[in-house]
């Protein structure tokens, strides 16, 4: 067995061991933080190693497991695409392994079941790794549902809160629907391929109509998991209520596993591309991106905000994938692989910064037990490291250079700008519109994270418990530091990263991006140096040089002193914490401009004594337009059906008689 696969197996074994030893945590709570969580981190490390080895070697290793159905044994395969996602999962899992012990320690005295936390976290990681590793539909589905199910238990971890239970229910329901859609999609592929192994599906030739049906099913399934609008409603409910490191895993990694699945099925298994598919993916991606960020802006719960922002980022990834599909459908292999790499790059970026931000939110929660932005403020001075790392996360997610989010958005823009190479005028004009949406998304994301960071970390504390916040223990800081460093590394050395990722595109599409790294590690030139170039290393060098120079000159200059005083605030009395701008107020202009897209209930309640209270509820429109009608339909159908069980035995006998008569009538 090859090194990569061995390491992968090792990672899965470690995750399972972590899960198994956690069973003992009911008796000995320390097991979780002493053993289970470090094992999880090691599993992540092993997965990371497996991924990197595979990416560097670029080979494909496959083997069969002695499990599964007799005629359908479980097969695993580690190819560059899987390796890439192993890397991604590995890094975040490492961070979670660092973060977990501190969290576990905090709840050791609580009523929550530590064993459940440990067991399902281990299974969750196992499931994700197995999904990526699976080489037949059966194992894929088993691993997929294992992933959904174990994360469901983690979402329901703090189940004393009714809202958490509802969120968990919705989550599992949607995951179930999605899983079944994927299963049906595989069914279509298997019907033409003659088997559930991925190898037979790869060679199957599907007619357009059937491959389109498979595409729709698969897109539905993975899109549901990825939280694409309008199937996203579960995501902002479920992700925030899990423990924060689990939210980091869910948002950072599990959504990427959905992306993986989509890439695997569409790019690898179906292997044919039609512009109609590409355009629909592009459209859904664009809608998700814009809606996700707008809803994120409206949130005052930090973790909900992050969850909605995941919808946005997944939208961006799917924009990349849609572009790739459009380009590939028209035979532009290089452009297709550029867009694919942009999507992959954004996947890993999002894993890093969303993981970082969720861990940061978790650190705030750990320190202040507060998730409402309106109660926060001034945390930067209380928790400087978390503040710094969170800032890096915010900068990255807002796609600001020289951080990683910018690189992937830049790549996406670059591939979108190559739309002039397409022959069809319709596509040529649709793609720039998607690019415009992407631009709008980026700008709104910046607004969103200015709000998040500004309200939470800057200004003054808006409540007493937040004022008393303490820095979090080392493990939490280290986990954030790791991911923050990754954000910076991925942002500063894009050319080197792409040199690694390139092998994925080469293996999937048979075409890579030779031009991208042709100019060395310093320059990123996706198409050609004349078309576009970006040098993150130089940028960061110049930025810091410039800042140092300016600071140096000013300091040498006339006055060095800085006097501390009360805030001026245009001469009003020194501002109190209650006079600060609130999160709601911050979002108000954008809420007003984009008001149509929200379901807003706003009113002023006059209470006695002339006190006026402002009430504002911003709801997701998807509820009213999609979810509520379906729920109502099922409910009313159920209401009708139960009339069968009327309680009167004569009616029951009447049913028997009429069934008999009808059947007799049918057969003769």
């Amino acid at each position: 067995m090859d090194t990569g696969l061995l390491l992968a197996a090792f990672a899965i074994a470690l995750a399972l061991t972590s899960s198994a030893v956690s069973l003992g945590a009911g008796r000995i709570p320390q097991i979780l933080r002493m053993l289970a969580m470090p094992l999880l981190g090691l599993a992540g490390l092993s997965a990371l190693a497996a991924g990197l080895v595979t990416l560097v070697e670029g080979g494909v290793i496959a083997t069969t497991l002695p499990l599964g159905l007799p005629w359908l044994p479980w097969r695993v395969r580690l190819d560059p695409l899987a390796g890439f996602f192993f890397t991604l999962i590995g890094i975040v899992s490492c961070a979670v392994g660092l973060y977990g012990p501190v969290y576990a320690r905090a709840i050791e005295r609580g009523r929550e079941s530590l064993a459940a936390l440990g067991v399902f976290t281990g299974l969750f990681l196992t499931g994700m790794l197995l999904v990526v590793l699976a080489d037949d539909a059966f194992l894929f589905m088993v691993a997929w549902e294992l992933m959904s199910l174990s994360s469901y238990f983690l979402v329901a971890f703090q189940h004393e809160n009714g809202a958490n239970r509802r969120a968990a229910f919705l989550y599992l329901l949607m995951a179930h629907i999605g899983g079944l859609a994927i299963l049906l999609g595989f069914g279509v592929l298997a019907a033409f391929g003659g088997g559930f192994g991925f190898d037979t599906m790869r060679v199957a030739e599907l007619p357009f109509i059937w491959s389109s049906i498979a595409f729709v099913l698969v897109f539905l399934g993975f899109g549901m998991k990825a939280g694409l609008v309008p199937l996203h409603a579960w995501l902002p409910e479920a992700h925030p209520v899990a423990p924060s490191h689990i939210s980091a895993l869910m948002s950072g990694v599990m959504l990427k596993v959905a992306v993986y699945g989509f890439i695997r099925v569409i790019f690898d298994l179906i292997g044919q591309f039609h512009w109609q598919w590409g355009v629909s993916v592009l459209a859904i991606g664009s809608v998700s991106a814009i809606m996700g960020v707008l809803y994120a802006l409206m949130q005052n719960d930090l973790k909900r905000l992050l969850a909605y922002s995941s919808v946005e980022n997944l939208g961006i990834i799917f924009i990349g994938l849609g572009l790739a599909m459009v380009f590939l459908s028209t035979g532009h292999l290089v452009l297709g692989s550029l867009a694919l790499i942009a999507a992959l790059y954004h996947s890993i970026n999002h894993a890093m910064f969303k993981g970082l931000l969720f861990l940061g939110a978790g650190a705030i929660l750990h320190s202040t037990h507060e998730h409402d932005l309106e109660q926060m403020g001034g945390l930067l001075r209380r928790m400087p490291w978390t503040g710094l790392f969170f800032l890096i996360g915010c900068l990255s997610i807002s796609a600001l250079p020289p951080f990683n989010g910018f690189v992937s958005e830049w790549l996406t823009f670059q591939s979108a700008l190559q739309a002039w190479q397409l022959d069809s005028g319709v596509l040529r004009s649709l793609i720039p519109i998607a690019a415009a949406v992407l631009a709008l998304t980026g700008a709104l994301a910046a607004a969103c994270f200015v709000k998040a960071y500004g309200i939470a970390f800057l200004g003054q504390a808006r409540s007493r418990h937040v004022r008393r916040a303490r820095p979090v223990p080392f493990g939490m800081r280290a986990s954030q530091g790791l991911l923050a460093a990754m954000c910076l590394l991925l942002g500063v050395f894009p050319a080197s990263v792409i040199a690694l990722v390139d092998v994925v595109a080469r293996q999937l599409l048979g075409e890579g991006l030779p031009q991208t790294t042709a100019q060395g590690w310093l320059w990123l030139t996706p198409v050609s140096p004349g078309t576009a170039s970006y040098s993150a290393p130089l940028l960061i060098v110049l930025l810091s040089l410039g800042a140092v120079a300016v600071a140096w000159m000013l300091r040498r200059g006339l006055v060095r002193r800085v006097r501390h005083c009360d805030a001026w605030d245009c001469g009003f009395t020194p501002p109190t914490a209650r006079m600060q701008y609130t999160a709601t107020a911050f979002a108000q202009p954008i809420r007003r401009v984009f008001g149509v897209l929200f379901h807003i209930e706003e009113s002023i309640d006059l209470r006695k004594g002339g006190e006026a209270h402002h009430r504002l509820i911003v709801r997701d429109r998807a509820w009213g337009l999609l979810y509520a009608p379906v729920a109502r339909a099922v409910e009313s159908a159920a209401r009708r059906v139960v009339k069968l069980q009327s309680g009167n035995i004569r009616v029951y006998l009447g049913w028997t008689l009429s069934t008999l008569l009808v059947l007799l009538w049918i057969i003769s």
Partner: protein, 228 residues
């Protein structure tokens, strides 16, 4: 089919079968409980008679036995048990007529026609006779079920159930010259045990709802609205 071409015994069988069918109708419409039990006893006797006639025609000995069993069980034992039960339950003066007798009778007639229509495609190798007898027994079966659907009284429901069994016996005897012995014995045993259990349940029901009106057995239902 030309009726006259049949042998006399066959004519007799058909005659008796027609009477069985008639008793089914009677059972359906009979308002007085005690009379219904009598009608049922007559039906059992008629089925037993059919069995004997068929046994005579086919010279099969085990049919005699089966006929005796039917006579004993359906015409004597079960009616007797029911009689006793009704007396002990103080139901011997119970009268309850059908709600819409004309309509229900029409339905029962429709059942007969339907049964006949059903068996028409059976192109029997030997006898059209058997086909018609199957139609009759099918009608008896369906009318028995109809009785159970339209009569609220638990005892009458049981009568309906037993009359369905009679239909079955009729079919078994006349169309197939009786089932294998072990089966017949088993069926008879089951019927007997069922009758005993019915008796037990009459008392239990009576104890729990103070009546034997099955319409009042309606606690177990799903149709109660939420938040009742």
């Amino acid at each position: 089919m030309i009726f006259t071409s049949l042998s006399l015994l066959q004519q007799l069988v058909l005659m008796l079968a027609a009477l069985v069918l008639f008793t089914s109708f009677a059972l359906l419409a009979q308002a007085r409980l005690v009379s219904a039990i009598h009608v049922f006893a007559w039906q059992g006797a008629l089925v037993a008679a059919v069995t004997f006639v068929v046994a005579m025609t086919s010279h099969s000995h085990h049919l005699y036995f089966s006929g005796a069993l039917t006579l004993l069980l359906k015409a004597l034992l079960i009616p007797w048990m029911l009689h006793r039960l009704t007396r002990r339950l103080e139901l011997d003066r119970h009268v309850q007529s059908l709600d819409r007798p004309a309509l229900i009778m029409m339905a029962a007639v429709a059942m007969v026609v339907f049964s006949y229509w059903l068996v028409l495609p059976m192109i029997q190798q030997e006898q059209i006779f058997t086909r018609n007898i199957v139609a009759i027994s099918l009608s008896v079966l369906l009318i028995g079920l109809l009785t159970m659907v339209f009569r609220q009284q638990a005892v009458v429901q049981v009568l309906g159930f037993m009359s369905m069994e009679n239909g079955l016996f009729l079919a078994a005897v006349s169309a197939t010259s009786g089932m294998p012995m072990v089966v017949e014995l088993g069926v008879a045993f089951d019927v007997l045990v069922a009758m005993v259990l019915f008796g037990v349940f009459f008392f239990q029901i009576r104890e729990s709802i103070d009546s034997l009106d099955v319409d009042r057995l309606n606690r177990l239902t799903e149709t109660v609205e939420d938040g009742n």
